[in-house]
Symmetry: C2
Subunit: 368 residues, 2 copies
């Protein structure tokens, strides 16, 4: 045990916990996980406590931990509140509460002057009809809570689809959001520690397919210094407002009217995976530093341009990846399954041209 060693308890045991641990051990930290199966990606990387109906296993994790963090914005808020009575949980419950409810999230954006799509929270078909009348079509109907990778969403393209939409995902609280006509999707990963120190990674460009992130270009090309600063000011406002400790990610739309906030994630983010090799300090290490009360590390990129390609559903020709000198493979040790993120590849490059050629050579990993 060194002076900075802490025992970190992670609620969840997926690939994010796995990469947190891989980044945290070199800082002398120890890890414990609270997961649903011994086969999960993090299970071998620390003490493993099986999630069960009995509270004992969760108590064992909390007893072990100096600090608790979580992998997902879908983490049970009540559980976090209960733990926080005895052990610090970072990010805090306010970040979690806001991030797990699209209505509260958008309201916070609005309140803080962060541009975002018009929206309305609806609880019935009638309210939905009324909201569509105001917001118009096309618009996107989503569950206010849960749902990720495009699940629990319905795009209302014409006025006569309202009933169909309600039938598809209604019967619960929903949010209707105006469709934002965007050039591209960007995201900003930021980090803040308890001392209030903040760091921002460069804006990156994300390309989704069927609601799943397929690749990220880092940094996003043709982003002016002003746009970067604008995005930083938005997320900085959120970090302070939420008294956020740890990594926070803001997904943004680039439109002809400037940046629009889409949603935030109170955690390390898929669009930040390129930082493992691509930045001086990875998002995972900076999250660990932040929640352990350490100074934050440099968020500067180590090369002109990088890309992150997700490995989705099937493992694909990874031998090809292993043979590329500038490619880095990350497998999460998960079984193949439709729509599942099994790993990612980082490509480091000196020029956009060379990078795009490399991406092209790995097109087996990209959707048709």
């Amino acid at each position: 045990m060194t002076p900075i060693s802490k025992r970190i308890g992670v609620l969840g045991a997926g690939q994010l916990g796995r990469m947190l641990a891989l980044a945290g051990y070199p800082l002398g930290q120890k890890f414990g996980f609270y997961g649903i199966s011994q086969d999960e990606p993090s299970a071998l990387l620390g003490h493993f406590h099986l999630h069960s109906d009995e509270a004992d296993n969760l108590k064992a994790l909390v007893d072990f931990a100096d600090v608790i963090t979580f992998e997902s914005e879908n983490t049970d808020l009540q559980v976090v509140r209960e733990i926080a009575k005895t052990t610090p949980v970072y990010p805090g419950e306010r970040s979690l509460e806001v991030a797990q409810h699209r209505g509260k999230e958008k309201s916070l954006f609005k309140e803080k002057g962060i541009p975002c799509a018009n929206f309305a929270v609806v609880n019935s078909l009638e309210e939905l009809q009324q909201a569509v009348n105001v917001i118009g079509v096309p618009s996107i109907l989503k569950t206010t809570t849960e749902g990720y990778d495009g699940k629990g969403q319905f795009v209302i393209k014409t006025d006569d689809q309202v009933e169909q939409a309600w039938e598809a995902i209604g019967g619960r609280e929903l949010i209707l959001e105006a469709f934002v006509d965007f050039h591209r999707e960007l995201s900003l990963v930021a980090v803040r520690n308890a001392a209030g120190e903040q760091r921002f990674y460069p804006l990156v460009q994300n390309v989704h397919h069927k609601g799943i992130l397929r690749y990220t270009i880092a940094p996003a090309q043709q982003v002016s210094e002003m746009v970067q600063k604008q995005a930083e000011s938005y997320i900085s406002t959120l970090l302070e407002e939420l008294d956020h400790v740890g990594v926070l990610t803001l997904e943004l739309f680039e439109t002809e009217y400037g940046l629009f906030a889409n949603e935030m994630a109170p955690r390390v983010h898929n669009s930040g995976h390129w930082t493992i090799e691509g930045a001086q300090t990875s998002q995972f290490e900076n999250h660990v530093r932040a929640i352990c009360g350490l100074p934050l590390g440099s968020t500067e990129a180590r090369q002109p341009i990088a890309a992150m390609l997700n490995i989705v559903a099937t493992t694909g020709p990874i031998d090809k990846v292993l043979q590329m000198p500038n490619a880095h493979l990350h497998l999460y040790d998960k079984e193949e399954r439709a729509g599942r993120k099994l790993g990612h590849i980082t490509l480091l490059s000196d020029s956009q041209e060379a990078l795009f050629a490399d991406i092209k050579s790995l097109n087996a990993f990209l959707p048709l």
Copy 2:
């Protein structure tokens, strides 16, 4: 489990095993360790099997593993031979046998035309006296087996010290080596896989204090292409001769007569730790790739110059390290103790000047 996933059993559970695991998980590998205490650096990073007098725990590791590797050249050769009957062990027993006996090692160098100091294996005071008469003083007396970080060595400076030397470390087989007047100490880390593919990292310069490596400059400055190729040809000969699979390190003296081989280590090496951030593929990842039958990764440096500083005995002002944008901290989670390696720091830089300024600012980590 992906197509390339293997279960790797490591004999030992120290910092080398720890860094192997941190590099191997992203390739989808799983790890098991055979160690002497649950507090060892690798203990939390995989299945842990406690070393005991009972053979069951070792059997459990072997049963778990698809492939076995080891952390130290002091690994019991009989144990490796026994395991090899049922499970592949890389590097093989021949590499281990040669590396753990300084007499066999030097004989191999000589046989293969790799320049090294004159030497003689001695088993008695008389033989030692005779050897000193031939080899002269100053010369270095060492145990033929075991001993690392300068332990088990005696420098014979004058003819009348022969008895004193024998008394200090004799009563067992020893090797007397002529003193080599060298400019500096270099080392070459190389890797070979079962398909015979070989890769070489750049030569690095090592600075020791009291027999313990304190820092490494990578690449070693003012090394001609010819000297690099010369070193590569030496280690390549060894890799082939030993049918070595995995990382092999060759320590060399740079003298006015060219390179002299000092000793080899059949494993990842302290002087290769800079590769974690400093090379496209770290020595740890390449060792894992080699023993798992995967293609080897690029050994190219990612920046003009880097340094690795060992953290020895006490943890030191690591807060300072965390605040340097280009510094990377690696702690092994070990208790402070005189002469013990507790961690290391990697510094990445664009110029020798900037690097040396950074090293100077961290002089608290260097011996006086």
